[in-house]
């Protein structure tokens, strides 16, 4: 299992567009066979900041996500809306370790 926390900082005028494009990416990503979660969060005290919580059952499944059509479309779509480059931080899972808890 691998969980990547992606920190996103969006230009203020593109917040709504970013949310729309990222919900579409979420809907497609959770259908990938190796996906466990793909949560989209907006920071309470700064609406320009988002966290994507991308959980995959293996590093290979996480890598395959980046080759999907929906990811590539999302990446292209949001490129000009970033206020700074995204930062993805990969993690190992300590708990829960049961696959059915994801």
């Amino acid at each position: 299992m691998i969980v990547t926390c992606v920190n996103v900082y969006v230009k203020e005028e593109y917040i709504d567009d970013f949310i729309e494009a990222t919900i579409e990416n979420h809907k497609n990503s959770i259908l990938e066979p190796g996906n466990m979660r793909f949560d989209v969060l907006q920071q309470k005290d700064d609406r320009k900041r988002f966290t994507l919580y991308e959980a995959y059952e293996s590093p290979e499944a996480a890598a395959e996500h980046k080759m999907t059509e929906h990811y590539l479309k999302w990446r292209r779509t949001v490129a000009d809306w970033m206020a700074q480059p995204r930062e993805g931080i990969p993690h190992d899972v300590i708990a829960p370790l049961e696959r059915n808890q994801w």
Copy 2:
């Protein structure tokens, strides 16, 4: 719904102790009625850094977590093991919005 991402930086010599105490906190926290997730993650490229992913169905439920015996015990236990203060970042949920997806 509210998700707090807690960034933790542990002194190297206490990594194993921190993992043990935090797994215990995880096991108790997921039993709280308002809890949706309580994931414990260790950063791949720096084993001293952890992320706690604490999802609750309401801000009230998240606040109640901080009054539970297991949270207070965990807080006391890990206090001296921190390399720097923990940082909790609260988020609103954009997706998934269905309660049963948590």
